[in-house]
Protein backbone atom coordinates (compact mmCIF):
# COMPACT_ATOMS: atom_id res chain seq x y z
CA UNK A 1 0.00 0.00 0.00
CA UNK A 2 2.68 2.43 0.98
CA UNK A 3 4.69 1.48 -2.04
CA UNK A 4 1.76 2.26 -4.24
CA UNK A 5 1.29 5.60 -2.56
CA UNK A 6 4.94 6.37 -3.07
CA UNK A 7 4.80 5.51 -6.75
CA UNK A 8 1.66 7.56 -7.11
CA UNK A 9 3.20 10.62 -5.51
CA UNK A 10 6.34 10.30 -7.59
CA UNK A 11 4.23 9.88 -10.71
CA UNK A 12 2.21 13.01 -10.02
CA UNK A 13 5.22 15.12 -9.12
CA UNK A 14 7.11 13.89 -12.16
CA UNK A 15 4.12 14.54 -14.39
CA UNK A 16 3.80 18.08 -13.11
CA UNK A 17 7.49 18.64 -13.71
CA UNK A 18 7.22 17.25 -17.23
CA UNK A 19 4.70 19.89 -18.16
CA UNK A 20 6.28 22.77 -16.31
CA UNK A 21 10.07 22.52 -16.57
CA UNK A 22 11.73 25.08 -18.77
CA UNK A 23 14.51 22.90 -20.06
CA UNK A 24 13.08 20.38 -22.45
CA UNK A 25 15.90 17.97 -21.71
CA UNK A 26 14.92 17.91 -18.04
CA UNK A 27 11.36 17.34 -19.05
CA UNK A 28 12.36 14.26 -20.97
CA UNK A 29 14.23 12.93 -17.98
CA UNK A 30 11.29 13.51 -15.67
CA UNK A 31 9.10 11.80 -18.21
CA UNK A 32 11.35 8.79 -17.85
CA UNK A 33 10.94 8.99 -14.09
CA UNK A 34 7.20 9.21 -14.49
CA UNK A 35 7.10 6.21 -16.80
CA UNK A 36 9.18 4.20 -14.37
CA UNK A 37 6.88 4.98 -11.48
CA UNK A 38 3.88 4.02 -13.58
CA UNK A 39 5.66 0.76 -14.30
CA UNK A 40 5.97 0.41 -10.53
CA UNK A 41 2.25 0.87 -10.17
CA UNK A 42 1.73 -1.80 -12.81
CA UNK A 43 3.90 -4.20 -10.87
CA UNK A 44 1.95 -3.43 -7.75
CA UNK A 45 -1.30 -4.17 -9.58
CA UNK A 46 -0.01 -7.58 -10.62
CA UNK A 47 0.51 -6.61 -14.21
CA UNK A 48 4.13 -7.63 -14.29
CA UNK A 49 4.33 -8.26 -18.01
CA UNK A 50 2.94 -4.85 -18.70
CA UNK A 51 5.40 -3.30 -16.30
CA UNK A 52 8.23 -4.86 -18.23
CA UNK A 53 6.81 -3.69 -21.52
CA UNK A 54 6.46 -0.22 -20.09
CA UNK A 55 10.09 -0.08 -19.12
CA UNK A 56 11.34 -1.65 -22.32
CA UNK A 57 9.27 0.16 -24.87
CA UNK A 58 8.75 3.45 -23.18
CA UNK A 59 11.86 4.10 -21.26
CA UNK A 60 14.05 2.14 -23.61
CA UNK A 61 12.45 3.26 -26.85
CA UNK A 62 10.30 6.30 -26.78
CA UNK A 63 12.37 8.27 -24.32
CA UNK A 64 15.46 7.63 -26.37
CA UNK A 65 13.64 8.75 -29.45
CA UNK A 66 12.51 11.91 -27.73
CA UNK A 67 15.94 12.71 -26.41
CA UNK A 68 17.28 12.19 -29.89
CA UNK A 69 14.79 14.65 -31.30
CA UNK A 70 15.46 17.14 -28.53
CA UNK A 71 19.13 17.06 -29.30
CA UNK A 72 18.55 17.44 -33.03
CA UNK A 73 16.50 20.55 -32.45
CA UNK A 74 18.54 21.78 -29.51
CA UNK A 75 19.59 24.95 -31.20
CA UNK A 76 16.12 26.39 -30.74
CA UNK A 77 15.09 24.52 -27.63
CA UNK A 78 16.79 27.01 -25.43
CA UNK A 79 15.97 26.76 -21.77
CA UNK A 80 15.75 30.51 -21.55
CA UNK A 81 12.59 30.79 -23.55
CA UNK A 82 9.19 30.83 -21.97
CA UNK A 83 7.89 27.32 -22.41
CA UNK A 84 4.20 27.86 -21.80
CA UNK A 85 1.80 29.87 -23.89
CA UNK A 86 -0.84 32.45 -22.94
CA UNK A 87 -3.79 30.14 -22.73
CA UNK A 88 -2.52 28.76 -19.44
CA UNK A 89 -5.49 29.98 -17.41
CA UNK A 90 -8.08 28.60 -19.72
CA UNK A 91 -6.17 25.35 -19.97
CA UNK A 92 -6.03 24.98 -16.20
CA UNK A 93 -9.74 25.65 -15.96
CA UNK A 94 -10.59 23.13 -18.62
CA UNK A 95 -8.32 20.48 -17.10
CA UNK A 96 -9.68 20.97 -13.61
CA UNK A 97 -13.19 20.75 -14.96
CA UNK A 98 -12.35 17.58 -16.81
CA UNK A 99 -10.60 15.93 -13.88
CA UNK A 100 -13.38 16.91 -11.52
CA UNK A 101 -16.04 15.60 -13.84
CA UNK A 102 -14.25 12.30 -14.34
CA UNK A 103 -13.64 11.81 -10.65
CA UNK A 104 -17.17 12.77 -9.76
CA UNK A 105 -18.52 10.38 -12.35
CA UNK A 106 -16.30 7.61 -10.98
CA UNK A 107 -17.49 8.20 -7.46
CA UNK A 108 -21.10 8.24 -8.50
CA UNK A 109 -20.79 4.96 -10.35
CA UNK A 110 -21.47 1.90 -8.26
CA UNK A 111 -19.07 -0.83 -9.37
CA UNK A 112 -18.76 -4.26 -7.88
CA UNK A 113 -15.08 -4.19 -7.05
CA UNK A 114 -13.42 -7.40 -5.98
CA UNK A 115 -9.81 -8.38 -5.97
CA UNK A 116 -9.10 -10.59 -8.93
CA UNK A 117 -7.02 -13.63 -7.96
CA UNK A 118 -3.70 -13.62 -9.73
CA UNK A 119 -2.28 -16.77 -11.17
CA UNK A 120 0.83 -17.98 -9.48
CA UNK A 121 3.01 -17.87 -12.56
CA UNK A 122 2.24 -14.18 -13.12
CA UNK A 123 0.57 -12.69 -16.15
CA UNK A 124 3.13 -13.28 -18.83
CA UNK A 125 2.00 -16.70 -19.95
CA UNK A 126 -1.58 -15.75 -19.64
CA UNK A 127 -1.05 -12.61 -21.67
CA UNK A 128 0.77 -14.48 -24.37
CA UNK A 129 -2.04 -16.95 -24.66
CA UNK A 130 -4.59 -14.18 -25.01
CA UNK A 131 -2.52 -12.44 -27.64
CA UNK A 132 -2.47 -15.54 -29.77
CA UNK A 133 -6.13 -16.37 -29.42
CA UNK A 134 -8.66 -13.68 -28.75
CA UNK A 135 -6.34 -10.85 -29.58
CA UNK A 136 -4.58 -12.47 -32.49
CA UNK A 137 -5.94 -10.05 -35.03
CA UNK A 138 -5.09 -6.86 -33.11
CA UNK A 139 -1.68 -8.30 -32.54
CA UNK A 140 -1.16 -8.70 -36.26
CA UNK A 141 -2.49 -5.27 -36.98
CA UNK A 142 -0.23 -3.71 -34.40
CA UNK A 143 2.72 -5.06 -36.29
CA UNK A 144 1.48 -3.50 -39.51
CA UNK A 145 1.00 -0.20 -37.70
CA UNK A 146 4.59 -0.30 -36.62
CA UNK A 147 5.65 -1.06 -40.18
CA UNK A 148 3.68 1.90 -41.46
CA UNK A 149 5.13 4.16 -38.79
CA UNK A 150 8.57 2.99 -39.77
CA UNK A 151 8.08 3.75 -43.43
CA UNK A 152 6.49 7.05 -42.57
CA UNK A 153 9.24 8.14 -40.28
CA UNK A 154 11.78 7.32 -42.96
CA UNK A 155 9.89 9.15 -45.67
CA UNK A 156 9.27 12.22 -43.57
CA UNK A 157 12.56 12.56 -41.84
CA UNK A 158 14.67 11.26 -44.70
CA UNK A 159 16.18 13.37 -47.45
CA UNK A 160 14.51 11.42 -50.23
CA UNK A 161 12.32 13.37 -52.58
CA UNK A 162 13.62 16.77 -51.68
Amino acid sequence: MLILLLFAVIAIIAAILVVSMKNIMHCALFLALFLLSVAGIFFYLDADFLGIVQILVYVGGIIVLILFAVMLTSRVSSALLEQTNEQKGLAIAACLLLAAAITAAAFRTPLATTLNPVKAEGTTHFTGELLLTVYALPFEIASIVLLVALIGAIVLAGKKGE
Partner: protein, 101 residues
Protein backbone atom coordinates in the same frame (compact mmCIF):
# COMPACT_ATOMS: atom_id res chain seq x y z
CA UNK B 1 -9.37 -0.93 -1.51
CA UNK B 2 -7.33 1.31 -3.80
CA UNK B 3 -9.71 1.25 -6.77
CA UNK B 4 -11.17 4.73 -6.59
CA UNK B 5 -7.92 6.43 -5.53
CA UNK B 6 -6.18 4.89 -8.52
CA UNK B 7 -8.91 6.09 -10.85
CA UNK B 8 -8.47 9.50 -9.27
CA UNK B 9 -4.73 9.29 -9.82
CA UNK B 10 -5.23 8.54 -13.45
CA UNK B 11 -7.68 11.41 -13.77
CA UNK B 12 -5.10 13.75 -12.28
CA UNK B 13 -2.37 12.52 -14.55
CA UNK B 14 -4.71 12.79 -17.50
CA UNK B 15 -5.51 16.36 -16.57
CA UNK B 16 -1.84 17.18 -16.21
CA UNK B 17 -1.20 15.68 -19.61
CA UNK B 18 -4.00 17.68 -21.17
CA UNK B 19 -2.68 20.80 -19.52
CA UNK B 20 0.78 20.16 -20.86
CA UNK B 21 -0.51 19.51 -24.34
CA UNK B 22 -2.43 22.74 -24.24
CA UNK B 23 0.30 24.94 -22.93
CA UNK B 24 3.73 23.67 -23.99
CA UNK B 25 5.10 25.80 -26.77
CA UNK B 26 7.59 23.20 -27.83
CA UNK B 27 6.11 20.52 -30.08
CA UNK B 28 8.28 17.90 -28.41
CA UNK B 29 6.92 19.04 -25.08
CA UNK B 30 3.42 18.50 -26.36
CA UNK B 31 4.44 15.05 -27.48
CA UNK B 32 5.67 14.25 -23.98
CA UNK B 33 2.44 15.50 -22.46
CA UNK B 34 0.55 13.21 -24.78
CA UNK B 35 2.48 10.30 -23.32
CA UNK B 36 1.12 11.28 -19.92
CA UNK B 37 -2.41 11.04 -21.26
CA UNK B 38 -1.83 7.61 -22.72
CA UNK B 39 -0.36 6.45 -19.42
CA UNK B 40 -3.40 7.71 -17.56
CA UNK B 41 -5.56 5.46 -19.69
CA UNK B 42 -3.19 2.57 -19.03
CA UNK B 43 -3.42 3.08 -15.28
CA UNK B 44 -7.17 3.03 -15.54
CA UNK B 45 -7.22 -0.20 -17.46
CA UNK B 46 -4.74 -2.00 -15.31
CA UNK B 47 -6.56 -0.92 -12.17
CA UNK B 48 -9.81 -2.13 -13.60
CA UNK B 49 -8.23 -5.42 -14.49
CA UNK B 50 -7.11 -5.82 -10.93
CA UNK B 51 -10.32 -4.91 -9.18
CA UNK B 52 -13.07 -5.64 -11.70
CA UNK B 53 -14.01 -8.69 -13.63
CA UNK B 54 -13.21 -7.65 -17.17
CA UNK B 55 -14.07 -9.80 -20.15
CA UNK B 56 -11.04 -11.46 -21.75
CA UNK B 57 -8.72 -9.58 -19.38
CA UNK B 58 -8.86 -6.68 -21.71
CA UNK B 59 -7.39 -4.56 -18.94
CA UNK B 60 -3.90 -5.88 -19.39
CA UNK B 61 -4.02 -6.46 -23.14
CA UNK B 62 -5.31 -3.07 -24.15
CA UNK B 63 -2.38 -1.20 -22.55
CA UNK B 64 0.01 -3.24 -24.64
CA UNK B 65 -1.59 -1.92 -27.75
CA UNK B 66 -1.77 1.56 -26.36
CA UNK B 67 1.96 1.47 -25.73
CA UNK B 68 2.53 0.18 -29.25
CA UNK B 69 0.45 2.92 -30.78
CA UNK B 70 2.11 5.49 -28.56
CA UNK B 71 5.46 4.35 -29.81
CA UNK B 72 4.37 4.47 -33.41
CA UNK B 73 2.86 7.87 -32.95
CA UNK B 74 5.92 9.16 -31.23
CA UNK B 75 8.04 7.96 -34.12
CA UNK B 76 5.85 9.53 -36.76
CA UNK B 77 5.31 12.67 -34.74
CA UNK B 78 8.99 13.22 -34.19
CA UNK B 79 9.57 12.64 -37.88
CA UNK B 80 7.03 15.30 -38.71
CA UNK B 81 8.56 17.68 -36.22
CA UNK B 82 12.00 17.10 -37.64
CA UNK B 83 10.77 17.55 -41.17
CA UNK B 84 9.12 20.83 -40.21
CA UNK B 85 12.17 21.89 -38.27
CA UNK B 86 14.26 21.43 -41.31
CA UNK B 87 12.06 23.84 -43.27
CA UNK B 88 11.12 26.45 -40.71
CA UNK B 89 13.88 26.08 -38.14
CA UNK B 90 11.44 26.09 -35.29
CA UNK B 91 9.68 23.63 -33.06
CA UNK B 92 7.47 26.23 -31.42
CA UNK B 93 3.95 25.48 -32.53
CA UNK B 94 2.67 29.02 -32.20
CA UNK B 95 5.07 30.07 -34.92
CA UNK B 96 3.51 27.55 -37.24
CA UNK B 97 0.40 29.27 -38.46
CA UNK B 98 0.67 30.19 -42.10
CA UNK B 99 -2.66 28.49 -42.59
CA UNK B 100 -5.57 29.93 -40.74
CA UNK B 101 -9.17 31.12 -41.15
Amino acid sequence: MMFLPLIGLSAIIFAIGVYGALTRRNAIGILMSLELMFNAANINLVTANKYLNLENSVGIIFPIFIITIAAAEAAVGLAIILSLYRQTKTVYVEKINIMKW
